[in-house]
């Protein structure tokens, strides 16, 4: 019965995002390495777009790399965007275990939504991804988790913006 219920749940129609209003948001991402950021950026942006968020990646520079805390990065982001709605995603992946022939990673993503003169919304989600090969690294783990991170971030942006998730 439980299996049938789960199957029916999977087969249920997806919530239609096309009715939601578009929100423009500036984005920046942080991970263990620039290559890891590159690995997760495209799939996250695809999900944001599918959920009607118009994401504009903010170009970073050497000063960005030297910022050590989420607060500093958020402040930098708001400064660069003149206080417009901004989304900062900080993610890292850590190998956890070899599990029944696969390789499990734990991905932690902290999502910060900020806008000038408004309190910042910051939440962290932890998820596990299971990769099939031993040589795969944090880039693969973040790329695998990216759609879920994107969906989570989109929900927070809408929540911050005062619209249904």
């Amino acid at each position: 019965m439980v299996l049938i219920a789960l199957m029916l749940a999977c087969g249920a129609p997806k919530v239609d995002a096309t009715n939601l209003p578009t929100i423009a948001v500036n984005t920046a991402m942080v991970a263990q390495s620039p290559a890891a950021v590159d690995a997760m950026r495209a799939p996250i942006e695809r999900v944001l777009q599918a959920e009607r968020l118009t994401a504009t990646a903010v170009a970073t520079n050497d000063a960005w790399a030297g910022l050590g805390t989420s607060g500093h990065r958020t402040a930098w982001l708001l400064e660069r965007t003149d206080g417009a709605l901004s989304l900062l995603i900080e993610a890292d992946a850590r190998r956890r275990a070899t599990l029944v022939g696969r390789f499990q990673w734990e991905v932690s993503a902290t999502v910060i939504v900020a806008q000038a003169d408004l309190p910042t919304l910051e939440q962290t989600t932890v998820m596990r991804v299971t990769l099939p090969h031993s040589h795969q690294d944090e880039r693969d783990a973040l790329a695998s988790a990216a759609p879920r991170i994107g969906h989570y971030a989109a929900g927070l942006v809408r929540q911050f913006h005062g619209q249904p998730e």
Binding site: M7, C10, P132
Partner: protein, 489 residues
Amino acid sequence: MIGRLAVTLMGLGLLSGPASANARVGGYARVMARPDLQGGTGRLGYWNLYGRLLNEGPYAALDFDYDVLEPDGANPWTTIHMRVEGGSVQGADSGNGSLDRFRMSQLYIEAGNVIIPNVSWQVGTLYRTMGDMGLYDMRPATIFFNTVGLSGTLRTGPLELTVGGGDSGNSLRMNRYHPVWTGGGAARLGLGRHVQIGIGGEWSMERGTEGHRYAAYDTPGVDYEDWLRGETIEAYRSEFPIDADRFPDPIAADAQSGHAFAYLGFGGLGPLKWNSTTVRFDRLHPEGPTREDYNGESEDIHVTSLTDERTVLFVGNEAHIAVVPERVDVAWGALYGKHVDGDNTVAPSDHNRWYASTVLRLQVATTRTLAVLLESSIAQEVSTLGNRYREHEDSIFANTNGIPDTRGLEYGETDTRTTWQGKGGIVFNPMGPGIFSRPSLRLLYGAQHSNENNAFSNQFVTTLDQYNEFGTVEQHWHHVLALEAEAWF
């Protein structure tokens, strides 16, 4: 005890918060309902040679680790890791979830950046693998499956190097523990993003210990065929009938075993996501003694030198191909195995055979969460020491060269089993498309054809005795419907 532990681990799982928290719980679950209307026990065929799908039973693993000292750059860190796993679920198999089918398969403490940077030391269970042939659920590129001890792993750039050693006595000898020293290692090197090579192996040595009842011994003068028939004492007494002639005392022996493997992986090339090839050669550990009773006399027959020439050659390949990304995936696997027992020249067994198999799986995503799965496999298993399989309900049993012989060591009328399986159904992937996407909820139908009669685990009566009240059944096709779920979490 294990139950309490499992409950504790689940509690920790519910409490585990962000990655910065110290405790984490993951796991694996596979559960199914497979009513078998043909008298089987719910598995399509005998084993994974025909592909793991529909040939495996339920399984669950709960995997826990706790950072005593979290990894932090180049500073020392240490983590405790443990796992409970087993193959039974209430209602899904005859074990009904009994905890005696579960075991603590892993417990180790890992410490990194201690003494040597980038090296992690592991004390406890040492099992390590380079991956899985997922279609078969086989892991040939593995070391230290049986070993508890110490290992050190260096991770630097594209290189991962593990060296270790310890004791495999409890795993190999179980309740007849005697130390089996094991040493070995593995190295994996990445050549860019597209190629990985690896080698590994281990060697185990069980030294004879004079006076230790569970050490490796040989009983002198044992004939292989007499031992196989359980007639060693009888054969001895036919020559030395007087009780005063004492049955020969065992002589201490050394037992050795080990394996070596080589691994090549490549991928990220067009639609080829990854291809893994593994070659492995095993020399199996000799058996312990068997108990014989004859005419009121009981003896342990020690057979180290009668079971020390068993080898296995294994070659396996698996490829994953994204024919149309996020829409059509293909996984193809093939393997070959050859088992040779240099001591046994008289009777068919698992140690004198070869087999070959290929499996092809196609998964087509019709929506983001719904897919159609099709899989087919063909396999052949050949006994290299005579007949082993019965093709019909009235086939002969014990025979010699196909002629019925109650003293014959062969079984059935053929040395070859050929098996075809086809499987298909609907797969629900809540996490999105992909052949590796899990959780996976499947509604499957599978069919098997084998030249062997009733080639699936069953409880059929096979005797041709006239007083057989249940009768016999002949069927070469086997059909299974399955509703199942699988997840890593």
